[in-house]
């Protein structure tokens, strides 16, 4: 067989059939379900008298609209949606990791931590950040509710063959920087639409040097470059992370799996439709200044001037973004004051993210005017962080320590910003109103969020390490 990319190997392994004149049908190995994008899908099954085809490959959790403070769900609509998920899982025989089970959490945090996310799989979920799971060499992508229904009913999806883009990182990641800085820089280079129609494969020494948590941060944000999926070839780091987790194979099956998984690499001579190189040798911590993740700059830069953009559409977009963000061209990013700080989300709420932020705030205090919260990615991350005493470090520094959930990343629960609030956030989207109507989001790494909390404005976190 001719040389193939990692993506193509996983794709080929999952083509159910590919008749001429119709889209190939792709088999789905794991379907992750949550409360927000599934009710209408289950309703569709009911209306047509259909069952869930493979409940053994389908698992649900509660994450998007759950409160992160103790007590019952006060929001009636949210409660009804959570009740609907519970009922749907009961009726259709789907396993639910409900709030309070101790295994709940953001869907893209729990899949990997339970060992359900494995190399070479196809994984879908009604959530665009499903790309996260690509960090394990899985082909994982977000789908809409109709496709959720389709996968529930058929365990498959018709898919057009995407194009492939290799994103090669060059150089060595400077001290104190993180995967978030790498991926923000890559998005700045590729653009928010540059990945449309592509599956990305991240490669290069800096990627190989990353932990699984960090690789998940990178793949998570593939969708912010417009790509539905991003992948990283599995290696010993991947296998060490997976071994012994509940969903991972054991004994002889583990050895067999390793042998198969080691073959999941892009062959020498395989070609990509596009290759992008991102040199990170002199990378600085990244801060977004606009209303999409591609509007990003190093922390020592200034707010850009719309006049510097030659393309009239781009100039318009920058002008609009600065108006929304209430920023003046030429302002140093370090002079921008923040009101709120959010450490959390499927991008940056894993144990390693919390460790980095905790180390930075230990023995220091959050600035007087800043309200800062930490929301662990899962109940398990929360337990582990508490076992390590991270919650105490955060609380002594003036952070609020919350229960797991998506929280302020999208503000479906009561964790929302007030109009005009400016937030340093470790999440993935700085869209208008994303964290609350009229709110202003700046995307940063956990270290940069911690630094902003302490200083009350953006600051180079590496100076505080």
């Amino acid at each position: 067989m001719s040389a193939r990319t990692l993506f193509r190997k996983v794709w080929d392994d999952h083509v159910v059939d590919a008749p001429a004149g119709d889209q190939p049908l792709l088999y789905v190995d794991l379907h992750l379900v949550h409360e927000v994008t599934s009710p209408q899908a289950f309703e569709g099954l009911r209306a047509n008298g259909r069952a869930v085809r493979r409940p053994e490959l389908t698992i649900a959790t509660m994450d998007h609209n759950v409160p992160t403070v103790d007590g019952p769900v006060a929001d009636e609509l949210a409660r009804a949606q959570l009740d609907a998920l519970r009922r749907n899982c009961d009726d259709f025989g789907v396993r639910l990791l409900a709030t309070g089970s101790g295994r709940e959490g953001i869907v893209h945090v729990i899949g990997p931590e339970l060992g359900l996310t494995q190399p070479g799989m196809t994984i879908v979920c009604g959530d665009s950040h499903t790309s996260t799971h690509g960090a394990f060499g899985a082909l994982a992508f977000g789908v809409g509710t109709s496709e959720v229904e389709h996968v529930l009913a058929t365990q498959s999806l018709p898919q057009a063959l995407p194009r492939t883009m290799q994103v090669v990182f060059l150089g060595e990641l400077p001290f104190g920087l993180s995967a978030k800085d790498m991926v923000l820089a890559a998005i700045g280079q590729i653009g928010v639409a540059g990945g449309q129609g592509f599956v990305l494969e991240y490669a290069g020494r800096p990627i190989e040097a990353l932990s699984m948590e960090a690789r998940m941060t990178v793949c998570n944000m593939s969708i912010e470059a417009g790509a539905r999926a991003g992948m990283i070839a599995p290696d010993d780091v991947t296998f060490a992370y997976l071994e012994g987790r509940p969903g991972a194979p054991r004994g002889a099956a583990w050895d067999d799996a390793l042998e198969r998984w080691r073959r999941l690499r892009t062959d020498d001579g395989a070609s990509f439709d596009r290759t992008v190189e991102v040199d990170i040798s002199s990378l600085k911590p990244q801060v977004t200044w606009g209303t999409n993740p591609g509007m990003v700059a190093p922390v020592d830069a200034r707010v850009p001037d719309p006049c510097d953009y030659a393309d009239p559409d781009e100039r318009d977009a920058v002008e609009r973004a600065l108006r929304y963000m209430d920023l003046t061209p030429g302002t140093p990013l370090v002079d921008i004051r923040v009101d709120k700080v959010f450490i959390g989300s499927c991008t940056n709420a894993r144990i390693e993210d919390l460790r980095v932020a905790a180390r930075l705030v230990e023995g220091r205090r959050v600035a007087e005017h800043v309200r800062a919260i930490v929301v662990p990615g899962s109940a398990q991350v929360k337990r582990q962080a508490e076992a390590e005493g991270l919650n105490e470090i955060f609380e002594s520094a003036g952070f609020e320590w919350r229960r797991a959930g998506c929280s302020m990343c999208l503000g479906m629960n009561s964790d929302v910003l007030a109009p005009g609030d400016r937030c340093a956030s470790t999440s993935n989207r700085n869209f208008e109103g994303r964290q609350g109507a009229g709110s202003r989001t700046h995307l940063v790494s956990p270290a940069m969020a911690a630094a902003a909390a302490l200083e009350g404005h953006f600051a180079d976190a590496t100076a505080l390490l």
Binding site: E56, D127, N292, F431
Partner: protein, 197 residues
Amino acid sequence: MRALRSVTGTVAVLDRADVDTDQIIPKQFLKRIERAGYGAFLFHDWMQDPGFALRDPAVEGAAILVAGRNFGCGSSREHAAWALEDYGFRVVIAPSYGDIFRTNSIVSGLAPVVLDPGQIAEVREALRGRNELTVDLERLEVRHPDGLRLAFELDAHAQETLVRGLDHVARTLTRAGSIEQYERDHTPRFDVRALAL
């Protein structure tokens, strides 16, 4: 799902690039468990601005939305397609779309038509004379009453889904034999119901 063979109607123009699905339908409306009724919340925050394009009485009841590149990027929320469809749009015309939004639109009976920026400029010029456009999904052609005709491309799968208003699950179930064969040939990695989590 409604079959869309050809759509003739008024056109609203939303002259911005990278309009994300958070703008099309903000998060507070995603808690509903129904599939209908999202039109009332379409572009909720932007609708507060009296100068917003869709507030113009001249485009009330518009069936076609002309938008900028990368329309519907971001979140996978299908509610965005449902909101546009429920509001009355049957077709969006843009240079490009967010991948997930594009698929969501097709299965929701909202046609995502691609024209390049030059062609969109021609359409907008024609609309200045008379705001009416026909998007023919059988012939894959955009027509203006003053004579402008532009061909566009749409893959056969999407075209068939839209024009026939097909139930995509039923359509895949005609391939159930292949799915069963695949399942016979491949052992699942686990049974999540049996795992000690």
